[in-house]
């Protein structure tokens, strides 16, 4: 189902489509998906420290996954790829979420120390759990929607540390294989949501560069299907 939209209402495009590409854990899967969708990613795969890789139709702009919604919302990037975890945490950013790309699958979970009863005890005796997380808004929404009060403590680095030395009763974090939890003697207590990579677009670019964005979206859909 490819949508060819042309003629009325298409603005003259300003150069190549700027696509925000996440560095870090999603980078490999993203470049593979783009390759399969016919986008040249050779330059971005090299050793170069450059952040921008110009192409004829599509220019790749690499950045932290959590910056992708910021760039796409403002229109500095026309479209982008980032994790659902980032989109959930920044749900006030106005970007169009167009496609579930399926890769980068991981779970947002509540975890505590193995065999430790602190989470339940704090809830029962103090009426409130202390939760360390890089995703304070996702965590707050989850506990609010399940009728529990928490104090979220936002940390930037290794979240696993927090319950081990008594900063928090538990953590809300993203888990791919579960190895980090295992190595730190932590266990999953609740699953909050499953996250995968998503294709997002700026709302104005989605209208004014409809042909390019729909085309890329369809090729990505085919490339990541099954």
């Amino acid at each position: 189902m490819s949508l060819e939209v042309a003629g009325t209402g298409e603005a003259k495009a300003d150069g190549p489509l700027k696509l925000a590409v996440p560095r870090g854990a999603l980078l490999g899967g993203t470049l593979d998906a783009l390759d399969a969708a016919g986008v040249d990613t050779a330059a971005a795969r090299g050793e170069s420290r450059a952040l921008i890789f110009p192409g004829e139709q599509i220019t790749l702009v690499t950045m932290r996954p959590s910056d992708v919604p910021t760039y796409v919302e403002s229109g500095a990037a026309d479209a982008g790829i980032t994790g659902k975890d980032v989109l959930l945490e920044q749900s006030d950013r106005m970007v169009y979420e167009l496609l579930d790309l399926g890769y980068g699958r991981c779970r947002m979970v509540l975890a505590g120390r193995k065999g430790d009863r602190r989470l339940g005890e704090s809830q029962r005796r103090l009426g409130m759990m202390r939760i360390a997380t890089k995703y304070p808004r996702v965590a707050e929404r989850h506990f609010e929607s399940t009728g529990r009060q928490v104090e979220t403590i936002e940390v930037k680095g290794s979240v696993e540390l927090a319950p081990l030395i008594g900063l928090a009763d538990g953590i809300v974090d993203l888990v791919a294989t579960g190895r980090t939890l295992e190595e730190n003697d932590l266990e999953v207590r609740e699953e909050i949501v499953e996250c995968t990579a998503r294709f997002v677009a700026n709302r104005v670019a989605h209208k004014l560069r409809a042909v390019e964005i729909d085309g890329l979206m369809e090729r990505l859909r085919e490339a990541t299907a099954g």
Partner: protein
């Protein structure tokens, strides 16, 4: 000594003010020359009166008590105050009524360039003129306003606010699920739309129809493609859009209109045609509007109405971006 002002508000200094004033005058002259008389209404109104217009979406973020204990609110747009004004002062007047304004409105947004909590809107209201001619006149004025602002690359998106409401009713989706689906359609969260449709028990084929319908945008050909999806609700919406588009063509102003079946506006009072304005130099929407044929009834007069508002500061940013782009390309 530095004295702070609230987040999302700002001072405007002479260089910017001069440019804003030029833009302001160009827009108001455009509106006035087409018979739209300028009005001003108070920035503060009774909360109860504004809430009558749209309790949910346009509810003011800034409310406070006056010395008598009455709850007041800062307006979040001009459409509701003008509906109030028409119902109070123009019930006997000859129609259609044409008003324009340039006024500040207030919303609790995340402040950034072109998005302040106190912002100026320039727009028109056409009251007593039904679709499709009333809608076409409003689009014609909007085009003239964009020309007056020098935004010759700007595009006007035209959609139908009732399309999905009626389609979901036709598919027997219950009220709660319908609300959830519409919110996701408004924010164009296609992954969420698909999930919400599936959990409402809609069959795969119809889910695919809804999703691809919301992605249809372009010229007249999208109407044919939508019609091919074979639903009565869709056919009715397409008929409305077709009439509006034909009226636009007859006025010679269809050239930069993009039909967009996925276009929904957040404000709850829209019915029928909805509009949005985009410029390729800016990642934000420049303005919007549409029909609100039920709004006046909430104030006790049953009149069809349509209008639009442009965010003055965003139009100014787009002007500057377009200028530097033209300068950059020689």
């Amino acid at each position: 000594m530095i004295h702070p002002i609230p987040p999302g508000t700002r001072d405007v200094l002479p260089d910017e003010m001069r440019e804003l004033r030029r833009l302001h005058l160009a827009l108001i002259e455009t509106f006035e020359s087409r018979g739209y008389g300028e009005v001003a209404t108070p920035a503060i109104e009774y909360d109860e009166v504004l809430a009558r217009g749209d309790g949910r979406a346009a509810r003011s973020a800034y409310r406070f008590f006056d010395e008598r204990g009455d709850l007041l609110a800062l307006r979040s747009d001009m459409t509701v105050p003008i509906a109030r004004l028409v119902a109070s002062r123009y019930t006997e007047a000859e129609q259609p009524l044409r008003f324009c304004y340039l006024a500040n409105a207030y919303r609790a947004v995340r402040p950034q360039r072109g998005q302040m909590r106190e912002f100026a809107q320039a727009g028109v209201e056409l009251i007593g003129a039904p679709a499709p001619q009333g809608t076409a006149e409003v689009v014609e004025v909007l085009e003239a306003a964009l020309d007056a602002a020098g935004l010759d690359r700007a595009v006007i998106g035209l959609g139908d606010a009732d399309l999905f409401r009626q389609l979901l009713a036709e598919l027997d989706v219950d009220e709660v699920a319908r609300r959830a689906i519409l919110i996701r359609l408004e924010t164009h969260d296609l992954v969420g739309v698909e999930e919400a449709l599936k959990s409402a028990g809609i069959g795969d084929e119809q889910v695919a129809t809804c999703v691809s319908l919301s992605q249809l945008r372009g010229g007249r050909e999208v109407l044919e493609r939508a019609r091919a999806m074979g639903s009565e609700a869709v056919a009715r919406a397409i008929a409305r859009l077709e009439q509006t588009f034909a009226a636009l063509e007859a006025r010679g102003v269809a050239g930069r209109v993009q039909l967009d079946l996925g276009l929904l506006r957040h404000l709850g009072y829209y019915s029928g045609a909805v509009l949005e304005v985009y410029d390729p130099a800016l990642g934000q929407v420049l303005g919007g509007g549409g029909r609100y044929d039920d709004l006046l009834r909430r104030f006790g007069v049953d009149l069809p109405a349509a209008g639009f508002a442009l965010y003055l500061e965003r139009v100014h940013v787009a002007q500057m971006e377009e200028e530097s782009r033209r300068g950059g390309s020689g």
